[in-house]
């Protein structure tokens, strides 16, 4: 009996503390289902969810519920007339679900195979939705990676399931330091557009026991990125556009557009969607090289007076193409611009950028922390909504080559 009383006291203490913290404390996550990231069951959960870029209006709803008693009704507005200039950011209206929130707590996503959610698109037109993930980047800065994008069918309950490509995401973000997910919507493209309405529910993960495939790669001498391996796609970032208008990157194996090896990088750049283009517009898109490609290189092998950066660009259009390579070290930047004639490869003599020219500005090439390729956006054209460019053979070569 004494033992029973002791146990009773212990249980009572534990239970009462639980009651106390539930009633009085702010407490941590109230985990209902370990894989449920967001269910929008309580107002507290909704207030904890972020909504950015002039998102619109949200409220609890008992319609189109796929988990629990409520869904989240979102009337999505979005920004109008924005400038797409911020590096690696997007301007689309998005909801932000922290990886550690009121009902969910997980930062290590190395065992996650899928992310899914349900969206009822309560409109008469299809729309695109994109899932991004953000966390500590492999390059020590907060980074964003796209998990997937899909088209939501109008007036339909859409189950959106994206494979969580740990190889793709992990090339940019540390998988054990994931902080938040962004579900980005199209938003309005003009003032005359009515806001779209969605019902969102049941944002969850699905774990996997399959090991992560290694994407580590040792560059050959001189090579920075040849785009022969499908995984080379993870060694570049699309920059300078919003989520819905970002450049689409893919590996091309049509040898017509390959300058060395078996593949090249194809960049489909959306023509500017919101304006008609005016004098000297410099809205740019482009790619950024994964820093580890040049940061981990032993530059002592390369005498700055004898070597140059180089790359090949193919311009498949009937108009000239301006391409600028930008080498950054902190606030310092060295530009190297060329123009590529229509339907031609770039002139190898023009694309060379001597390391000595960079050294003059940076002191040492090792101090370089970013390489960008910038391509001006061009006015919108209904006939050709994208402008395509191919890049290959980004390398360091001898000046005598």
């Amino acid at each position: 009996m004494k033992k029973c009383i002791k146990i009773a006291f212990l249980l009572a203490a534990v239970l009462s503390l639980t009651v106390f913290f539930a009633a009085c404390g702010k407490g941590g996550a109230e985990v209902i289902d370990p894989n449920l990231m967001a269910g929008f069951e309580t107002e507290k959960e909704i207030y904890q969810t972020g909504f950015i870029n002039n998102f619109g209006k949200i409220e609890h709803s008992d319609k189109h519920v796929t988990q629990g008693k409520y869904s989240l009704k979102a009337e999505v507005h979005g920004r109008l007339n924005v400038i797409y200039s911020q590096y690696e950011r997007f301007n689309n209206p998005a909801m932000v679900i922290a990886s550690e929130n009121y009902i969910f707590s997980k930062t290590d996503f190395s065992d996650v195979g899928k992310v899914s959610f349900d969206v009822y698109a309560d409109d008469d037109k299809d729309s695109e939705i994109v899932l991004f993930v953000e966390g500590s980047g492999v390059e020590m800065v907060e980074s964003i990676a796209e998990v997937g994008r899909t088209t939501l069918k109008a007036n339909t309950a859409n189950n959106v399931t994206f494979a969580f490509s740990r190889e793709s995401v992990g090339s940019k973000i540390k998988l054990d330091m994931i902080r938040r997910f962004y579900i980005a919507f199209e938003g309005r493209s003009s003032i005359d557009d009515e806001p779209m309405t969605y019902y969102i529910d049941n944002v969850r993960i699905e774990t996997t026991t399959v090991a992560v495939k290694s994407t580590a790669k040792t560059s050959k001498p001189g090579e920075l990125c040849f785009f022969d391996d499908p995984d080379d796609i993870y060694r570049v970032f699309a920059t300078g556009a919003d989520a819905m208008c970002s450049s689409r990157l893919s590996i091309n194996y049509d040898l017509k557009y390959v300058s060395q090896g078996s593949g090249s990088l194809r960049i489909d750049i959306p023509r500017h969607s919101s304006r008609t283009g005016t004098e000297g517009a410099i809205d740019q898109t482009g790619i950024r090289l994964l820093r580890s490609l040049f940061e981990n290189r032993d530059w002592s092998d390369y005498d700055a007076n004898e070597y140059s950066f180089t790359f090949d660009v193919y311009n498949p259009s009937n108009e000239p193409l301006a391409v600028e390579m930008q080498f950054y070290s902190g606030n310092k930047v060295v530009y190297h611009g060329i123009t590529v004639a229509p339907n031609s490869w770039s002139d190898k003599n023009l694309t060379k950028m001597p390391l000595s020219a960079i050294k003059q500005n940076f002191v040492e090439v090792e101090a370089m922390d970013m390489i960008l390729f910038r391509i001006p956006q061009t006015p919108h054209s209904s006939e050709a909504p994208f402008r395509t460019v191919y890049i290959d053979n980004i390398s360091v070569v001898s000046n005598n080559t």
Binding site: M1, C4, I5, I7, A8, F9, L11, A12, A13, L15, S16, L17, V19, F20, A23, C24, K26, E43, I46, Y47, Q48, G50, F51, I52, N53, N54, F55, G56, K57, I58, E59, E75, H77, R79, L80, N81, V82, I83, S85, R89, F90, V96, A98, E134, E142, I144, R179, R180, Y182, I191, P195, T278, E279, G280, A281, I282, D283
Partner: protein, 838 residues
């Protein structure tokens, strides 16, 4: 089985027992003791603090059509689970103000865990400050209407007197119900006999951050923005942007058209659209972020086309391109700001030429619109204020931070711009901090109110505040956004470690309201905006009669602040409001009484006043002299000595059936420091070694009789530290002159500067060796009336230790550290004490 039941029984009992102790609600059936006190609306009573020893009744004085508040401070002796406060009607004889004219709010508290960065005022403790004002009905429905035993719970009561209310003194009561106990709090309200201007004349540009409205209201749509915009109008505040979608020119013009006639709308920004630009003309950075000038031109054109000369929508419009011109001096972007302003000028001229070509400006009919297009103010913020040689984008709309107006010299710079017809604005964003006026939570509330009075007094056209709805933690980023707040109501530090910066409102949605809630500070800002209107109305009435209002304004300002330093004295403040109200009543009455001039001369004050020639003016304890009769008005003069501890102009004005009284508190006692008429008087002043003093008998350099000639000399100590520290000065003893030094509030002297303009300051020396230095005053060449009121910035203890004051200059050294001299002639040095009501 029995054992099991018993076991669970014990568990259950203990669970409940532990839970009650944990949440601690302190039940009890005994009668509740509650101490109830009242406070004015410029006092912050902290939650966890000693019992507030205020008044016993709610007392408010206000004009018809005005909103004014007060506070009831509840302090129970045991925990209160539920309380509510309801207002009753107000009665004055047969006149009634309905209970619905009151709004009752429960004050919510926000804790300052750290003092706002760099604030040194020890009278601002850490603690739980009242800020959010939750309408009582929402406090009840939201279940926050409880009070912890032995703590203060503020209730803010706000009264809007109907414009049709009869003037008079009203009585009423508030009923406090707490856990079944009922208490009554009397209310006493004085309604002044004038209607406050319903039109706001102070321009404001307070920014509503549309994007982050959703964090509080779950809604960032245009509809919610409009709710916030309209809510601010109730507080006589204009948001920067009218309700319209970004980039929607038609929507903007429709909104301008809809709001233009709203008397509370004094100003609106012309929205801009950002655009990346390549323009080689800006050589430093040809590629840069700019605005879409074509879009801006389209907006201005549309405003013009929707206007008439009589209803000129451009007259309230201004540029504020905050995304590209922000604190341009601090950001080393003066050249870019200039470049942008020039482009705006080109755009304006192009537009006028186009409209001319289209025949828009019809002969002489639309010149006002043409001028409006070409003279749109360009609000351009800067941190440090205009410095010599500063590259300025514009002078029409220049907007330095509030503390850039601190010295006489600085204010003179802006006064010259205003004299040229330019608009000068001021703004706050993180800075300034106490002792300058701020909207920070851990600052004296009265400074937020007096800022508007300062604005009117200094002729500042507009007031810009960077964010009213900071429902976000700007101190920390979270990915592409800033961190969300842990709590929307109780987090004080949201921006730059300044408590309360970046927000003045609270979301209503979490309480089920479709409108936001105000803060105590927002109420105070409205009060200040209404004080502004008191001054505006007095100015208008005086101008109609051809009377100069400046000396009244000077006297009022002198009672409230010095430069940009408020005196934090709420009784002075309310006496000034009462005085202004009475002056408005008197000038609007049949007597048309006005004060033309107030001049302190040595130990006397000379007052000139005028009234309708049929009015009878009777002075109490003073004689008046008729100076002139003209234009149906009689002008009188009275001179009386400042020999009493309290000196006031007390008079009665009678005209027909009208009788009005005035009791204008002027000052305390005056005392002569010296008139320097003989060599002996020089004994009481000191100059440093290299400087000299001598009696001057040349009447050219004396106001009357003789004066003292002081030749101040610089000194090279051979090191920068001492050279910078040394300030040649002339010292006057001010103790032992028959005035208690702790009441000292003004030092005056006539000073002749025999050289170029130079900044002087007054050093206030104390018996413990400490010395306080006032802000700079510009000594222009020739005679200057030096008036220094900045004694109130010293603590009460320090004021009690005052021994002497020094007229000081910075060390007089040229670029090669060679000392030079500056000759000053000083005459008529006097000190003045404050009266009971300064």
């Amino acid at each position: 089985m029995k054992n099991i039941k018993r076991f669970f029984g014990i568990v259950l009992t203990l669970v409940l027992a532990f839970s009650v102790v944990g949440c601690g609600d302190g039940k009890g059936g005994a009668k509740l003791d509650m101490s109830i006190s009242t406070a004015d609306n410029v006092t912050k009573v902290l939650r966890v603090a000693d019992a507030y020893n205020g008044g016993t009744e709610v007392h408010i004085e206000l004009a018809k059509g005005e909103t004014e508040g007060a506070q009831i401070i509840l302090r129970p002796n045991k925990n209160v689970k539920n309380f509510t406060v309801t207002a009753g009607e107000l009665k004055s004889g047969t006149n009634v103000i309905a209970a619905s004219a009151w709004t009752v709010y429960q004050e919510m508290y926000t804790e300052t865990y750290e003092r706002s960065k760099e604030i040194e005022d020890e009278s601002l403790p850490l603690g739980e400050y009242p800020d959010a004002l939750i309408p009582m009905e929402y406090a009840v429905s939201g279940g926050i209407n409880n009070i912890e035993s032995g703590t203060n719970q503020g209730v803010y009561v706000s009264l809007t007197a109907p414009e049709t209310a009869a003037a008079g003194t009203y009585s009423g009561k508030f009923t406090v119900t707490a856990d079944g106990n009922t208490f009554e709090v009397p209310a006493n309200v004085v309604v002044y006999d004038f209607v406050i201007s319903q039109e706001s004349h102070s321009k404001t540009s307070f920014l509503i951050w549309k994007d982050i409205l959703i964090n509080g209201e779950l809604d960032s749509s245009l509809s919610m923005y409009k709710t916030y915009y309209d809510f601010l109008l109730d507080y006589r505040i204009n948001a920067y942007e009218l309700p319209a979608e970004h980039g929607d020119t038609d929507g903007f013009v429709a909104s301008a058209d809809a709001y233009f006639d709203n008397p509370k709308v004094a100003s609106y920004g012309i929205p801009f659209v950002l655009k990346t630009i390549y323009d080689p003309a800006f050589t430093r950075s040809p590629h840069h972020m700019g605005i879409d000038y074509a879009h801006m031109k389209e907006s201005i054109r549309a405003l013009a086309e929707a206007s008439t000369n009589e209803r000129n929508l451009l007259s309230k419009a201004y540029y504020y391109l905050h995304s590209i011109i922000d604190e341009f001096d601090h950001n080393n972007a003066s050249d870019y700001a200039v470049f942008v302003d020039e482009k705006l000028g080109v755009m304006e001229n192009e537009l006028v030429a186009e409209l001319d070509a289209e025949g828009f400006f019809k002969l002489g009919e639309t010149d006002e619109l043409r001028d409006a297009i070409l003279n749109l103010p360009h609000v351009a913020t800067m941190v440090y204020g205009i410095k010599e040689g500063e590259l300025l984008p514009t002078t029409n709309g220049i907007t330095p931070q509030i503390d850039a107006f601190r010295t006489d010299y600085e204010r003179q710079v802006y006064q010259e711009l205003m004299d040229n017809g330019d608009e000068v604005w001021w703004y706050s964003c993180v800075w300034p901090i106490n002792p300058f006026p701020s909207y920070h939570i851990d600052d004296h509330l009265i400074s937020a109110r007096e800022l508007s009075v300062m604005q009117k007094y200094y002729g500042i056209e507009g007031n810009l505040f960077w964010a009213v709805n900071g429902y976000v933690n700007w101190n920390r980023t979270a990915g592409m956004d800033h961190e969300k707040l842990e709590d929307l109501y109780t987090v004080a530090n949201r921006a730059a470690n300044r408590n309360g910066d970046g927000y003045l409102m609270y979301p209503g949605k979490p309480f089920g309201s479709d409108k936001p809630f105000p803060s105590l500070r927002l109420e105070t800002i409205r009060d200040g905006q209404e004080d502004y209107e008191y001054l505006w109305q007095l100015e208008q009435e005086y101008e109609k009669l051809g009377v100069d209002y400046k000396s009244v304004f000077d006297t009022v300002a002198d009672k409230l602040f010095t430069g940009m330093y408020t005196n934090y004295n709420s009784s002075s403040f309310y006496s000034v409001r009462r005085l202004l109200a009475r002056l408005i009543e008197l000038v609007q009455s049949d007597a048309e009484f006005a004060i033309d001039d107030i001049e302190f001369i040595k130990e006397t004050v000379n007052i000139t006043f005028s009234a309708n020639e049929n009015a009878e003016i009777t002075l109490s304890d003073a004689e008046k002299t008729l100076v002139s009769t003209a234009n149906g008005r009689k002008t009188y003069n009275t001179l009386f000595s400042l020999t009493n501890e309290n000196n006031a102009l007390v008079l009665t004005a009678i005209s027909g059936s009208y009788t009005g009284n005035l009791n204008f508190a002027l000052s305390g006692k005056a005392a002569r420091v010296s008139e320097f008429d003989d060599a002996a008087s020089l004994e009481n002043i000191k100059v440093p070694l290299d400087s000299t003093k001598e009696l001057n008998t040349n009447s050219e350099f004396a106001i009357d009789g003789n004066s003292v000639k002081v030749v101040l000399s610089g000194h090279d100590f051979g090191n920068d530290f001492d050279n910078k520290d040394f300030e040649p000065s002339v010292t006057f003893a001010v103790n032992g002159l028959g005035i208690a030094v702790e009441k000292l509030y003004r030092f005056t002297a006539d000073v002749y500067n025999d050289g170029d303009a130079v900044q002087m300051f007054l050093k206030i020396n104390q018996s413990n060796g400490m010395s306080e230095k006032t802000e700079g005053i510009l000594l222009r060449p020739g005679w200057n009336k030096v008036i220094i009121n900045q004694f109130h910035t010293l603590s009460a203890n320090a004021r009690g230790r005052i021994q002497s004051v020094e007229i000081a200059l910075s060390n007089l050294l040229d670029e090669s550290d060679n000392a030079y001299t500056r000759t000053l002639y000083i005459d008529n040095a006097y000190i003045l004490a404050e009266g009971d009501l300064r």
